[in-house]
Amino acid sequence: MIIQGKVHVLGDSVDTDGMVAGRYLPLSDPKEIAKHIFEDVDPGFVMRVQPGDILVAGKNFGSGSGREHAPLGLIGLGIGCIIAASFSRTFFRMAIDLGLQTVTCPEAAAVAKSGELARVDTTTGVVQIGSRQFQSDPLPEFIRQIVDGGGLSPWVKAELEKRQREARA
């Protein structure tokens, strides 16, 4: 899959409490959660981003509390992809299972500047920031299928139907 968008640069160890404060945990609609992304730490953020934009972060993106509100809110904002030097593993897994694209590429994360254009090829792992090109490790095919298909939900549905067909046969 090819993703292109405008870059917004974030720092190291961006935590999920900062992304969606605990008081919003009762929310579940991505569009509603999206209104509160970075509300306490960067109140202007949601006004600056446009659907399709790409976040470029430092190491350990999504650290802290494992809350689906964080990736869901970013999906609600229409974020096209997150490029980071590294991801917290719970966030990483949640992103995959919800169909949010992630790319681990420390080289690109080190040089990207806000406002630049980025292009990501999730199949080959090639990341372009402006005119500079970087190679990242693409996700394994099995995992790419889950993300590209929109997350675990469609995948489980298909698996369930397959099992039911097999049981009937």
């Binding site: 160890s13 935590d15 409490d17 605990g22 945990l25 730490v41 190491k59 350990n60 494992g66 809350r67």
Partner: protein, 421 residues
């Protein structure tokens, strides 16, 4: 090839018959327990519906615990608890714990014998790694993933690399399990164990009781870890014999197993430690922050709400009063712990000292309710996170420490080494 504890547990749970698994390999596995609370449970139930789930494939392997918004502080929280009750009833989930009938999930499920050594535990909460205190592999996972497990009775795991902590020396004074993990965070940082299994062994592990081991494993996720596992020993075997309802297995690392890194932890040289805001990795010895005025001390949560913690707090508060400009909230982790504390007379000391004591809840730990901080306030807490906004207002600051330091601070009104109280 010799294997680490995490590798052996994952191999034992792999759907495909395997002699060994290797780091970075993806496997399909069956878990022993899926653990959901009132934040991630209702979200997982929505995924369950969206995925076309009708019945839970193994209802006896699911535990539902109301702890975050329990007792409900608001209508929105009450909706989440209702969703838990409805699902438990509709799907026939026996291991459902409502407010007042359980407590904080990570302390509750071992107490109820629902996990045991050698188990593979998947949870919607990031502190599911606390299960490592009981020599189980516990990992916080995605909430959609929880729904998939409920439907398919399987999930995928990426086998983590393992790092080893060899614990030696005799601890003294006011040093606890919490200080061990805080010192590790100081050493390796908040991503020092990213995607790894943190395994603890060595001659001095046996000097730490089961409760202190929970404090250690609980904060593995603060170092980026996927899980933390204490190598089983005599106290583990004794605990398992008393508590476990299912078959369990004491799994140790093979001699010569490959670890990505080895660390030596010498308890004899350890001091009580404090994590300064706004990161659990921002750790210094207590004397470096001594003298800072504190508005509220919060003692409890899934890291440090055990009977051992309450005894430590009582040893400090007994016969003393809280400082005039400092308040305290004490939250036993489970109803059983609460009852035990009452029967030992600990609660009396807390109330006489001037502390608020509450029913088990995660409330203030995530800034939700029951002790949130206001703008400009300084808190000291035995919890596991101090990110900006975590404990209430984003203008509040939180210092993390063990139960002795917290209790002594409540009396002094400022951060203090308990030995100097």
């Amino acid at each position: 090839m010799p294997q680490t504890i995490a590798e052996k547990i994952l191999r034992n749970h792999s759907l495909e018959e395997k002699d060994e698994v290797r780091p970075c390999e993806f496997i399909r596995a069956r878990v022993d327990l899926t653990l959901l609370n009132d934040v991630n449970g209702p979200a997982a139930f929505r995924h369950f519906e969206a995925m076309g789930g009708a019945k839970v494939s193994s209802p006896d392997k699911l535990a539902l615990v109301c702890d975050h918004f329990a007792p409900a502080p608001s209508a929105a929280g009450a909706q989440l608890l209702s969703s838990m009750r409805r699902f438990a009833q509709e799907k026939g989930i026996e291991n459902f714990f409502d407010a007042g009938k359980g407590g904080i999930e990570h302390t509750l499920v071992p107490q109820e014998g629902l996990i045991g050594p050698g188990d593979l535990i998947a949870g919607g909460d990031s502190h599911t790694c606390t299960a490592g205190a009981f020599s189980a592999f516990g990992a916080g996972m995605s909430w959609a993933g929880m729904a998939a497990i409920m439907i398919l009775d399987e999930t995928w795991f990426k086998v983590p690399e393992s790092i080893r902590f060899n614990v030696t020396g005799k601890k003294s004074g006011y040093v606890t399990g919490k200080d061990i993990i805080l010192q590790i965070l100081q050493k390796i940082g908040v991503d020092g164990a990213l995607y790894m299994s943190m395994e603890f062994g060595g001659p001095s592990i046996s000097t730490l009781n089961i409760d202190e081991r929970q404090a250690i494993c609980n904060m593995a996720v603060e170092a980026g870890g996927k899980t933390a596992i204490i190598e089983p020993d005599e106290p583990t075997a004794e605990w398992a014999k008393q508590h476990c309802k299912r078959k369990y297995e004491l799994i140790t690392a093979d001699p010569g197993a490959h670890y990505a890194a080895h660390y030596e932890i010498d308890l004899s040289r350890m001091r009580p430690m404090v994590a300064k805001p706004p990161s659990p990795g921002n750790v210094v010895p207590v004397e470096d922050v001594a003298g800072i005025h504190v508005d509220q001390v919060y003692m409890g949560n899934c890291a440090n709400g055990t009977i051992t913690d309450l005894r430590q707090i009582a040893s400090v508060l007994k016969g003393r009063k809280l400082a005039k400009r400092t308040r305290a909230v004490i939250v036993p982790a489970t109803q059983k712990v609460y009852l035990q504390a009452i029967s030992e007379g600990l609660i009396e000391h807390f109330i006489e000292a001037g502390a608020a004591v509450s029913t088990p809840t995660c409330g203030a730990c995530f800034g939700g309710h029951n002790g949130a901080l206001s703008d400009g306030e300084v808190g000291v807490a035995t919890i596991n996170r101090n990110f900006r906004g975590r404990a209430g207002h984003p203008g509040a600051q939180v210092y993390l420490c063990n139960s002795y330091v917290a209790a002594a601070t409540a009396v002094a009104g400022e951060i203090i080494d308990p030995a100097k109280l």
